[in-house]
Amino acid sequence: MADTATKTTSEASAPREVKLPVLEREKLVLNKRSYHWITERVCGIIENKQPAIWWALFIPSLIMAVVGVGGGLIYLVTTGVGVWGNTNRVMWGWPIVNFVFWIGIGHAGTLISAILFLTRQNWRTSINRAAEAMTIFAVICAGIFPAFHVGRVWMAWYLAPIPNANAIWQNFKSPLLWDVFAVSTYFSISLVFWFLGMVPDLATIRDRCKRGLKKVLYGIFSLGWRGSNRHWSHYEMTYLILAALSTPLVLSVHSVVSFDFATSIVPGWHTTIFPPYFVAGAIFGGFAMVLTIMIPARFFYGLGDMITMKHIDNMAKIILLTGTIVGYAYLMELFVAFYSGAKYEMAAFTYRITGPYWWAYVAMMSCNVLSPQLFWFKWCRENLWVVMGVCMAVNAGMWFERFVIIVTTLARDFMPANWKYYNASWVDMGLFLGTIGLFTALFLLFLRFLPCINIAEVKWAKEESDAHYDDKKGHPDEGTVVESAYQHELEKGTAEV
């Protein structure tokens, strides 16, 4: 047997030596693109005129943001929070649904930038920048809702740890205050992480600019970066530490958000499964949003050699995994309601499924649990229309999940006299649409002015970037590496893009 293997793999080698074929890893940068090509392609997005589709998306989303968020908030503040559909029982309603929805979206950004960094998943390099930007913008959208949900927004400073006029301090035992600390820390640290990661790339743009305002601005924000290895050494350590800090941080943020529910005694909320269930759901929804915004950006800006089908395949698999975890949590919640023998808990869940909000429950289940199951099939993970469709379903499904948790539970609390069907008002809807516009507009501005792909890290992920690349020639394994068939197949598909 050994002799035949030797003959087929390398005839020239000594007869005793057996060389078995080694399957190559999928390349992260396709078509052997040079460093300069990567620089040109990413900086070109900023330096060239935007495609018509950019304006076609930017103008409507800007209008949505100005009318929805700007107009909606002015109307809300001048009239009072009564313009929302919130009622005596459903005091949280859409505003908190939207808050949890947006804050969850952000989590995938931190997962990609921090957790995949710590686990050395090098494919994160081409998607982390845009995902982190998504985090920042999603948290901005999220922050609007609780700030105005306090009722009198000019009293929002009560959230900060400052005593009020009666020298009473905030209640540090309250999950709502934990939330203030968790979300503001999350926003600040995500911003630091995003900015620091961008410094070398801003320097790239600075070095390509001609003299003028642009050069001055990129010059200021690139901090005088010059790629010195003494700097890289500290920089990489900082990056590692920020990743190590962000990993527990991101897990804590959605855990704390879930404490807003779980530490109450409301049936349907008072469960220990909430923190992991919320975190898995957040990552799930966030990855769907990353794909929702990156697949079009990849197509319109021709980034297919850096955001390869392998990246999309990996993300689809993560969506499948987290979607299945979320499905498990939904079922486990039902099981525990039944198994605990708690009458009110069981009633709450029966009401969720068979009550007047059954449509939201069906939407949640089918979008979040059933639709990602398509990703078991390779064909579905490779067809971008299917991927986009599933991601859209997941985006909607995650919103419905928060709606189911918040509204169905609050609509029937302990006092049957208060039971009433909840309807959102047009101000609720306008504000939510406005935040979608705000998010899209901010993301488009990001594509326009900042490097949307981490240029330095994508260069680093090329195989010849290894300091020992030359030494690999003459290595005993040389010649036995065979190109992965899967990638070969995909490379044909992306060559046109």
Partner: protein, 187 residues
Amino acid sequence: MSTSVKRVYGYLAEFESASALYKAAEKVRDAGYQKWDCYTPYPVHGLDGAMGLKRSILPYFVFFGGLTGLVTAFLLAYVTQVGIYPTLVQGKPANIFTIPAFFPVMFELTVLFSGFTALFACLGLCQLPRWNHPLFASRQFHRVTDDGFFIGIEARDPGFSAEGTRGFLSEIGGDNIELVEEDEKAS
């Protein structure tokens, strides 16, 4: 109107790849140079060893930053909730045994303080931001953020000599060797 004189900053040499730079860096290190640096478009892993750099001391700063955050959060919660204005809510005690309820805020402030310490310590250790640097006067240095790999040896290094260093850089495989000069206003 000031006249300008030039001051030599040092030599800058280009290398063709990360591997070539790595091997050259080992030789510069072994030749005993001190004031020199490698410049790369992305972090080349292993180059720290080739340059003889020690591990970054940044984690020590972050440790103390995080500790400050932890203590700050504990004192903020404890002093306000137990000390100056105890609020008796949620059936929780108004003494030290309410500490589990303080953990989330203590954790968040630890992370917040650590993160900002990491940022500012990194900038401090790198001596950034700075508006200008003599190397930016070089005609080829702009390629460092694109696809250029450089080694720069500064004139203030004790082993520097106009001829010797140039010869040394070309011997270890450097191309486009350039004498970088900075403008200095005559006062």
